[in-house]
Symmetry: C2
Subunit: 438 residues, 2 copies
Amino acid sequence: MDKQKVQPSILPGFMELLPQDQLLFNKMLDTIKRTYETYGFIPLDTPTIEKSEILLAKSGGDTEKQIYRFSKGDSDLSLRFDLTVPLARYVAQHYNELIFPFRRYHIGKVFRGEKPQKGRFREFYQCDIDIIGNESLSIINDAEILSIIFSTFKALGFDEFTIRINNRKVLNGFFESLGIENKADALRIIDKLEKIGVPAVTAELKELGLEQGAIDSLLEFIRIKGGNKEVIERLKALKVEGELFQKGLEELEKVCEYVEYFGIPEKNNAIDLTIARGLDYYTGTIYETVLNNHPAIGSVCSGGRYDNLAQNYTDKKLPGVGISIGLTRLFYQLRESGIVQGAKRATPTELLIIPMKGTMDYALDFSTKSREAGIATEVYLNEGKLGKMFGYADKLGIPFVVVVGEDEVRSGVLKLKDMSTGQQQELRVEEIIRAVKG
Amino acid sequence: MDKQKVQPSILPGFMELLPQDQLLFNKMLDTIKRTYETYGFIPLDTPTIEKSEILLAKSGGDTEKQIYRFSKGDSDLSLRFDLTVPLARYVAQHYNELIFPFRRYHIGKVFRGEKPQKGRFREFYQCDIDIIGNESLSIINDAEILSIIFSTFKALGFDEFTIRINNRKVLNGFFESLGIENKADALRIIDKLEKIGVPAVTAELKELGLEQGAIDSLLEFIRIKGGNKEVIERLKALKVEGELFQKGLEELEKVCEYVEYFGIPEKNNAIDLTIARGLDYYTGTIYETVLNNHPAIGSVCSGGRYDNLAQNYTDKKLPGVGISIGLTRLFYQLRESGIVQGAKRATPTELLIIPMKGTMDYALDFSTKSREAGIATEVYLNEGKLGKMFGYADKLGIPFVVVVGEDEVRSGVLKLKDMSTGQQQELRVEEIIRAVKG
């Protein structure tokens, strides 16, 4: 290679796809988008670059470390690291111009300068929906969010998945009743139950200062399993004192009731008292979604209910509920684990028209008609032998090819070749258009 | 406002839309995307952040000044300032895995830290297509690009627009024949003809060192107007010596010939010998597109032919031809000049279902059916008076509303209200779905 050339490459931790995979990725993205829209969510697009003071208004340690922050002129700029903070800023800023409940979806890239590791990306797509209420927001919205998760994964072609729900008030209320102060640490330890077993978990909880009685109650609590109704009954039977627990239980029961009305099969949703998610942010319902046959992938869609979206920017009380699908990571994992296979097609083209000597005018006119009928159509415009042209169609996975020779132009009858079967049909232009549209 | 609150705002020079405008913007973007795909272009998505050494491999003064460049860890990073440099890097990097001619489209945001001014943005969408050949690429591709511009602006709802074409070989060949060395300066002066008039232009060209004979020839040349055939004939009649001019004239003639075969009306395209575009980059056909009734907007879609896409990254010769639509700026100008009116709708929702007391289960089941039929459907899930709920539908511009009371549940007959006419129809669920789908 020439000394002056720069070696073409991208940075580690960034995803770039070849055409086949890009088409698959886009299909997933379009499916998510279409599903979100059938629920009446409004598309939103906010700047990739925002003021650092906005994005870091409520900063945690990790956020501050991971954020891409830089200056240009006098400005202190940052790339957004999620779509929720920009939403909070947007709703606070445009509060008077928005209609509440404000239902928005946002599909866009976010940026986190994490240490690169397999399956983690520094630039990735998030597909978010949130419903924001003004002062209040009915619990039925929490059930609707579950319905949207269900519809989205069904539309993506999945059948064996479980949407796990829990309620932070139930968790916190129960912990309070046991006098556990360090809820975050206790939950982290409990999370390891499957891995390290009861004795090790018990030991760690003791180190945290819990008494044996509290530990037993805790282990009993998180072992409550069964159908939603059964879990609710067993939670009631615990007779936990305290308003918080009771309020949470009531919410959980309502969500389960409404979820039935949405027609979500029992097998696709389950109360799971062990899920907790980002402890500071959520205040009610929380969601995680797992692919039953691929638990190693972890949660593919998570979210929850929060009391106050935009408290860093406004005094208005704006409760909401939302979820996020990390599409870049999900796509990577589906491809890696073979759940999504590589596509045969590397182009949207459905019909390739190959003109022979002297028939370019006919071929171009044909292509215009075919496109007007909505068919993605290409004319082979360059020099080359017929074999090379068919090779082009074959390598790209174009399903149909027509060769336009002088005889064909004269007779008006052309040979349509189905590239998957190799079969040819003699058809007129209008018939070809009908056949390809199928 | 609380002292701890951060005033919600975005940086100057960034676009953010309210729901009505966002829906309009997305409709334009989808139209462009769909049109590009009917020509068989492959979608591509490259990282927003690239290595600075890649993006600045061939840097000009403005690029270097405008680019958002920063470091994270050891890496020297930059935000892409166009979609062409990433394309060049991509094609060089994945050369062995791509099928040529490589036809790709890319719709994405690019970033330029320009001084903010009305109608200029620091973060904006570009909608690009390029056709990249391996070693060679037929001139017919240049005509196809013109066909794509035509189809795109027709699909966007425009009728009165002109795609101006020129050929850099014709320009350069003619300049060479006059012995003009400083072509860029000469073109810049000529560009001002309409503004400052012949005497002033003559004076400036003299300062540049041109003799009166050359100036007269130049002015005669750029005044050549008429139908494409007429312009070609007049260019031939100039009898300019030199291979470059003759090659360019031949290309221009071919493009015009093939453009006819694509069925593009004469009124929508015209040779314009005064357009030049980025002098260093293009080597053949060049395009600009103007809205006839709004010349002040300038070119809304530009591009051209280049000999060597990726010379900074590879020794492979990769000629190409492409165009770009700067959608953010175009949208802004169309809205400012009133060509695009604000939308009535602020949501994709087509049907709002309002449940009364005790009918939520029926309403939710109805909404699932309606969504399965492809209708964007919302159920009003929150508390409130009926008037408030109709107000919600009205403010968002939702076209149809159904109220579900206990009587309606019992009889199975519901009242569908058309919000634009105020008329109501008594219909069953399946009939409502048919009526809303229209």
